[in-house]
Subunit: 206 residues, 2 copies
Amino acid sequence: MSRIRARNEEKIIRAASRVFAEHGYAATKTADIAELAQLPKPNIYYYFGSKENLYRAVLESVTEPLLAASAPFEEHQDPLTALTAYIRAKLLISRDYPYASKVFASEIMHGAPHLPEDIIQRLSGQTRFLSERLSQWMEQGLMARLEPKHLLFAIWASTQTYADFNWQITMALGKDELDETDFDQAAEVITRMVIEGCRVSPLAEA
Amino acid sequence: MSRIRARNEEKIIRAASRVFAEHGYAATKTADIAELAQLPKPNIYYYFGSKENLYRAVLESVTEPLLAASAPFEEHQDPLTALTAYIRAKLLISRDYPYASKVFASEIMHGAPHLPEDIIQRLSGQTRFLSERLSQWMEQGLMARLEPKHLLFAIWASTQTYADFNWQITMALGKDELDETDFDQAAEVITRMVIEGCRVSPLAEA
DNA sequence: GTCTATAGATAGATAGAC
DNA sequence: GTCTATCTATCTATAGAC
């Protein structure tokens, strides 16, 4: 792969993430992506073959960050540290990959028609892992017994909302864009709800 | 308005909600709406004039339920009852208006380009009301001091997710559709997190 | 590898008969 | 009020020159 190819592909992916995020798959015109990427439209077809391939490439570009977010559950043995770090990691994805997050959310919302099967499998595996880990901690008496999956749904939703429903949030807060303080406050509120809701003890009581 | 007109408009709105929810605004074909509604396509244009008008009519059809959900904050004076009822009300919207909820979510996600200004204003007013009410309770010592708006974002996100990201949730739970038990468990987890996170006392201690 | 110019398909909208 | 047939704009995709 030539240097010029690598650079152009990256420019196209970056532009595409943004346009797909703002308008959705069907409403985005490849011409708009080309314009934002400052490249002629046929280059997009030269590099990616079709609009759908390009869209899938964008979806795949978020997959790694998403899968990496569960690292705290592997590194930490106590729920307090793991959950706190996990919530922060999920919020950082919303902050640092706002466009890709939205594209992913939109895809899921419409039933994941374009999401490659292998990505679905890896994400499902991650969900099972997280859920089982929570169950173990509950059995060990390290946290209260809640339905682990519903706990995960709440964490996912309340962290992703800062990317997906950015419009609603900036409007409610009366600002143009979110800053560090907003994400810190979000982390504090969500962490507190999760930690207190699960009555996670600041170390074993099993 | 004739009886036949009223009936046809309702059939079209119902079909449109579903198709818009499943495919998004740009990807839905008016022909598909007509087919699902069992009416010829020109009838849609006869009744609604354009695809965009029909879409707006769908958006407006969820507005009332959404605004009504905040009733518990007006009826109840203590945060425990109000928050518990509010969470349940929001979950019921996800359960009972899954298509309209998704259409609304998709609209917000893309920056609300079609949402009429008066609806935006009414929703903003509701947000201010809810947020101020929470602040009062905090000042009265009835609940812990969290950022009220971030608390609302978490409640909105974790209740709406059962409609918006239904695909992900049914997949994680390994079932085709959610039943009563699922919504009960969701209510329990979310309510517990909110109540414990805010240290809401089971009546005054101010 | 890059880009202009264009083909081809899709789907929103409507004319006009009933 | 209803619907068949069709017009037309838009946009994906590519042929072919450079």
